[in-house]
Amino acid sequence: MSSPIPLEVDGLSVRFGPRRALSRVSLCASAGELVALAGPNGSGKSTLLRACLGLLAPAEGRVRLFGTDGTLLSIRERARRVAWVPQEEAPRDNVRLLDYVLFGRFAHLPPFTGESEVDRNAAARALAEAGLADRSDAGILELSGGEKQRLALARALAQEAPLLLLDEPTAHLDIAHQLDLFERVRRQVRERGLCAVAAMHDLNLAARFADRIVVLSHGQLVSDGPPETVLSVPLLREVWGVETELRRDPTTHRPYLLPLRSVAQGILAGPADRRLGPVHVVGGGGSASPILRRLVEEGFHVTAGALPLLDTDAETADELGIPYSAEVPFAPIGEVAQARTRELLSAARVVVIAPVPTGPGNLVNLELVEAIGHPERVVWYARREELDYTGGKANELSRRLLAGGAKELNDLDALVAASRQAIPTGSPLAVAARG
C-alpha cells in the first residue's frame, strides 16, 4: 500500500442531525499495533469505527486508510483494506461455516465470477486461525456465541485486509471466550503485522491486550497512550464516573483495576472538593487502609497524611487516588510534609486517627491534629494505649483531645455514620454531593 500508516483520523467530526457524536478526533494506528478504543456508553467509539468503515460520512476532517482519503475509495477497494468484526453475528440461515467465511472474499472476486482455489485456501486458513478448521462443514446456527464471534473473525481474516476494526467483539461472551478471541487477534497483530482497532468496554481486557488505549468521552478524545499511562484513578473518575483501585499485574506490569463504586451524578464532572467531606485520615503501616477504602466507597472526599512513601497506607492512597502528604521512609516528618499536612487538616471536616503505633518520628502527626484546635472534629478509631511508643506523650495527647470533644469509635459503620453526621446536611458541600 502507498503509505505505511493503516489508519489516520484527522480532526474527524460526525453529526447525527444537530448532535455532534464525534468532535475533532485525531488519532493514528500503525501496523503491528493493537489499539483499544475505550469510553463509556455513548462516548463515540462505535461512531468512530463506523466512520472509519465509511458507514458514516464525516462532517469535518477525514479518515485516511493507508494514505488515501476514505471518501475517495470505492466500497470494494475499502473492503480490501479494512475488515470488520461486529458486536454480534445474527445469522438467520444455517449457512455452512466455510461458505460464511467465503463471504469475506467478495471484494477479491472479479465481477460475475466464482471463488477460485486462492479464495478457498484463504477461507480455510482463516477458519484455522479462528480454531474452527475441523468444523468447516457445520452450519452456523449450531455454533455457540463464542464460536460465532470467532467465525466473524475468520470471515474478517479471509478478507485479508491489513486493517481490522472490531466493535466490542466480546460484549456477549463469557470470560474464557473473551480472552480467546483477543489472544487470536493479538496473534494476528504480532505475527502478520495487522493493525487492529477494537472498541472495548472491559478496561482490564484493554489494559491486558492493547498496545495503546484511546479514551473517548462525549465524542472527544480524552487520552491516548499505553495502558499504564492512560488508566489513572482521576481519569476513571472523570470519564466513567467510577471510583477505582488501580493495581499493577506483577507479571505483565500492565495495570488492572478494581471498581469500587460509581460516583453519584452531578459530582461526575465537578472538582474533587465538591464531594462529601473532606475527611482526613492519620495513619501509617497499613492501619488506615481499611478506613481509607471504606470512606472512598461511601463517597467521601478523603485526604491522608502524613505518610511515609512506600508505606502500605501510602500505596492504598495511591490506588484510591487519595491526595496525601508524604515523607521519605524512615525519616522524621519534615517541615514541608508538616505544612502540607496542616493544610489538609485544616480543610477537613472530620479527622480520623487510625490505630497506628506512634513513635518519636510520627508523633508530630498527632500534634498537628491538636494544633488545628477543633477536637470535636476528631474521631479516634480503635484507640489502644499500648500503641504509644513515645513514653506516654501520645496517650496524654489523646486524653486531651477526648476531653475536648473527640469521639472514640471501634467499628467502621459507626465511623461512617459519625462522619456523615459531622458534615451538616444542607451545607453546600452535602447538597453538591447528593447531586
Partner: protein
C-alpha cells in the same frame, strides 16, 4: 386435462408435437379418422388458447417467484412479497382507471396491460424516489411501500364507490387469472421476465451478503444501498409484467422462496432460480386445478393459489420445523 373441452390425450400429444415440430413429426395434426373440421377446432383450442395459457401461467409464476425471492432478500424480511409494497396496488389502480373510463373492449386488450404495467412500475419507482429523500434504510423503504399500498387501495375504493359497474370487473382483476392468454402476450411477458430475471441472476452473491445486515455487507464490499435500489427496480419490473396480464395473483411470490429455502438451500444463488421454477410450477398447478374445478376456466387462479398453497405451506412448515438447510458456495 389441459382444456375445458375434452380432447383425447393421444390427439393432444399429437397436435402439440405437430405444432412444435412445424409439421415435421406428424404431417397432419390429427389421426386420419378425425374429422378435419374437428381437428382444426382442436388444434385451435390447444394451440391458440391452452398452450398460451399454460405458458402464461409458467412465465407469470416464474416472475412472481423471482420477484418474491428478490424482495425477501432485499428487505431481509420473510413476509416481503410483490404485493406488500403496493407494487401491485399501483397496477390495480391503473387497471381501474380503464374500467372507469369505459374504454371499448378492443382497445382494453392493449391498454389494460399497459396501464397496469405503468401503474405498478410507477409505484416501484415512487418507493425508490421516496426512500432517496427519506434516508433509505430498509425499514423506511418497507414502511414507505406499505403506506403507499394503503393510500393506493384507499384511492381505489373511492374510485370504485362512484363506479359500481367497474367494481365488478376490478374485483375479478383483483383475484387474478391467466385467461385471455395469447402468443403475443406470452412473448411480452417472456421479454419482461428476461429483462428482469437475467440481471437478477447476477445478484445472488450480493443478496447472500445483504443477509448479514447492511453494515457487514458494506464492510465486505457490497454497496448495500445501490444494490438494494437495483434489486427493487428489477423486482418491480418482474412484478409489473406479471400484474399487467394476469391481475393480482397472491401467495406465489410469498411462498416460492420459502419452499426453495426449506427443501433446497438458503443460498440466494439457488433461491433466485429455484423460486422462479417453484413459482412457475405452482402457478401452473393452480391454473390446472382451477380448470378442473370449474371447466370453463372461469374461477380466478388467484383463489387457487391460496386454496392450494396455504395447506401445502403449513405442511412444509410442520415437516421442516427443525431442519437444517445449507447453501453451497458464497
Amino acid at each position: 386435462m389441459l382444456a375445458g373441452v375434452s380432447i383425447p390425450l393421444g390427439a393432444e400429444v399429437r397436435i402439440l408435437l405437430h405444432q412444435t415440430s412445424f409439421g415435421l413429426l406428424f404431417p397432419s395434426a390429427c389421426p386420419s379418422e378425425t374429422l378435419p373440421l374437428r381437428c382444426a377446432a382442436w388444434t385451435e383450442i390447444l394451440w391458440d388458447a391452452v398452450v398460451p395459457e399454460v405458458l402464461l401461467a409458467l412465465l407469470v409464476g416464474a416472475a412472481l417467484g423471482l420477484s418474491g425471492a428478490t424482495l425477501q432478500g432485499t428487505f431481509r424480511n420473510p413476509l416481503a412479497d410483490p404485493y406488500l409494497l403496493g407494487i401491485s396496488s399501483g397496477g390495480t389502480l391503473g387497471a381501474a382507471f380503464l374500467f372507469i373510463f369505459r374504454v371499448g373492449l378492443a382497445e382494453a386488450n392493449l391498454v389494460l396491460p399497459l396501464l397496469a404495467f405503468l401503474g405498478s412500475l410507477g409505484t416501484g419507482a415512487l418507493i425508490l424516489l421516496a426512500s432517496r429523500y427519506l434516508g433509505g434504510s430498509i425499514e423506511t423503504l418497507l414502511l414507505v411501500g406499505v403506506a403507499l399500498a394503503n393510500v393506493l387501495s384507499a384511492v381505489l375504493s373511492v374510485v370504485l364507490l362512484y363506479n359500481p359497474v367497474g367494481s365488478i370487473q376490478v374485483s375479478f382483476w383483483l383475484l387474478g387469472g391467466v385467461g385471455g392468454a395469447s402468443w403475443g402476450r406470452d412473448g411480452l411477458v417472456l421479454g419482461g421476465l428476461l429483462m428482469a430475471g437475467a440481471p437478477l441472476m447476477l445478484f445472488g452473491r450480493q443478496l447472500n451478503l445483504l443477509q448479514l445486515g447492511p453494515e457487514v455487507a458494506q464492510s465486505l464490499g457490497v454497496d448495500a444501498r445501490r444494490v438494494r435500489h437495483r434489486l427493487l427496480l428489477l423486482a418491480s419490473l418482474a412484478t409489473s409484467v406479471a400484474v399487467a396480464f394476469t391481475g393480482v395473483i397472491g401467495f406465489v411470490g410469498l411462498i416460492a422462496p420459502h419452499v426453495v429455502r426449506r427443501v433446497w438451500s438458503s443460498n440466494y444463488r439457488a433461491v433466485l432460480p429455484g423460486s422462479a421454477l417453484v413459482g412457475a410450477a405452482f402457478l401452473l398447478l393452480a391454473r390446472d386445478l382451477s380448470v378442473i374445478a370449474a371447466p370453463p376456466g372461469n374461477l380466478p387462479v388467484g383463489l387457487f393459489t391460496a386454496f392450494a398453497g396455504a395447506p401445502f405451506f403449513f405442511l412444509l412448515l410442520l415437516r421442516h420445523r427443525r431442519g437444517v438447510y445449507m447453501g453451497g458456495g458464497g
